[in-house]
């Protein structure tokens, strides 16, 4: 088990990352809260020793993604909420980003992780493959397809990745 200081630091450091991943997958604040609690409790109780900050970050991302998946699986997609409701979340971004976020959120679930990890966190395809437990080539094609879909949704080639 980790000390209180460690957990405090981890929450400070990674809360935004976890929040964004929740944002991608979940549709309401209560679920997000659940995930936060699960993820950081797991972090507090785990005895994994991290080699580096990067390792720690990757561990947390993986735990979060898995937790989101488990949650969605348990709900069995019975809870579908329209996109407007998502926008009413407390963390709803300013309107100029709304279009982009909407585009990302409208992607199928398996693309969203990849898009976020690649474009925001800056992970390379092999790294994403390791984190998500996917084949590298699968990640490449997921990235390629999501890029196409985003381009189609947002229009124009100004979004050249």
């Amino acid at each position: 088990m980790r000390s209180e200081e460690e957990v405090n630091r981890a929450v400070e450091q990674y809360a935004d990352t976890v929040r964004r991943l929740c944002m991608i997958h979940l549709k309401n604040y209560a679920d997000t809260e659940d995930i936060f609690q699960n993820v950081f409790l797991k972090y507090a109780l785990s005895s994994v020793s991290f080699e580096s900050q990067e390792h720690e970050r990757a561990w947390l991302i993986r735990v979060t993604v898995n937790a989101c998946r488990d949650l969605l699986k348990s709900f069995f997609r019975s809870r579908t909420v329209s996109i407007d409701e998502i926008m009413e979340q407390p963390a709803a971004p300013p309107s100029e980003n709304r279009e982009v976020l909407e585009a990302v959120l409208s992607l199928p679930a398996k693309y969203k992780d990849v898009v976020y990890l690649h474009y925001y966190e800056g992970y390379t395809a092999p790294e994403i493959g390791r984190i998500l437990g996917k084949n590298v080539n699968t990640v490449y094609s997921l990235l390629k397809r999501s890029r196409e879909m985003l381009r189609e949704k947002l229009g124009g080639d100004e979004y050249e990745g």
Binding site: A15, V100, G161
Partner: protein
């Protein structure tokens, strides 16, 4: 696209409130970051409970089905009942053809041994032998002497109504060597006795003889050797027991044995 995505995601931040509630939750769940040692132990508890159940199961099975005492019943059919620590009959074994037949026809498993002995005594085959004035011998053996004595007295009480029965104690070694010879305990003892007078006798022969036949044979052989010997056999328990332990020391055993007879006949 990269910049725009980055900007979008940048605008998403974890609320302070969310962070605080998470920290509070973690702190509560971990009991103020103190409970470290209990976790591995707690995981072991169900596993240990399962193991315990398993051991209890096997142990119970073992205790129940291990005979601690043996009651050997001989007329012509030789029969042995294995009695477990809880006074229940857990095995019935016939030591000759008649005995096997009888064992197959009996249903005394899991009965209390007194009931079982009563049941056997009231069995038609046994009753027939008894009515033909045959001798019924019952030997009780066990590792625990107190227990053996208790069983013996119980069995004696059961057989009180019958004449021509005699009950005695036997030792464990005796039973082991009896089984080796393929005889039940009571018959083995009679066989040893007979062997003193007739060294040519074999276990196979004895197996087919009734107890009365053996007794009569012993009596007649003893009678020829020791004049004035009574032909009727009424073995006294103590004499029997001493004798039972004895090996093949012919003269010494014979003398002691003879003594027993004399006491009886006088």
């Amino acid at each position: 696209m990269k910049d725009k995505l980055k900007k979008t995601f940048d605008s998403i931040r974890a609320e302070e409130e969310l962070k605080a509630s998470t920290l509070e939750f973690v702190s509560r769940k971990t009991g103020g970051y103190r409970k470290r040692k209990t976790v591995p132990y707690r995981r072991l508890v169900p596993a240990l409970a399962c193991l315990l159940m398993l051991f209890l199961g096997f142990g119970g099975y073992h205790v129940y089905f291990t005979p601690t005492s043996i009651i050997s019943i001989d007329i012509n059919p030789s029969l042995e009942l294995g009695i477990n620590a809880l006074d229940r009959v857990v095995s019935v074994e016939g030591y000759n053809e008649d005995g096997e037949e009888l064992a197959a026809s009996l249903n005394v498993n899991h009965m209390n041994y007194t009931e079982a002995v009563e049941e056997i005594l009231s069995n038609d085959i046994i009753a027939e032998y008894l009515s033909q004035d045959q001798i019924l011998s019952i030997a009780v053996a066990g590792s625990d002497e107190g227990k053996t004595e208790k069983i013996l007295s119980q069995v004696r009480a059961c057989t009180e109504g019958e004449k021509n029965t005699h009950c005695y104690e036997a030792s464990h070694e005796e039973i082991a060597s009896a089984h080796e010879a393929g005889l039940s305990c009571g018959k083995y003892r009679a066989y040893l006795e007979l062997k003193q007078y007739d060294p040519d006798i074999t276990t196979e022969e004895v197996q087919g003889m009734t107890m009365k036949e053996i007794r009569d044979r012993i009596a007649s052989l003893a009678g020829t050797e020791e004049a004035g010997e009574s032909t009727s056999y009424r073995g006294e328990d103590s004499a029997q027991q001493k004798h039972g332990h004895g090996g093949q020391e012919h003269s010494g055993e014979g003398e002691r044995h003879g003594h027993g007879y004399r006491q009886e006949s006088e």
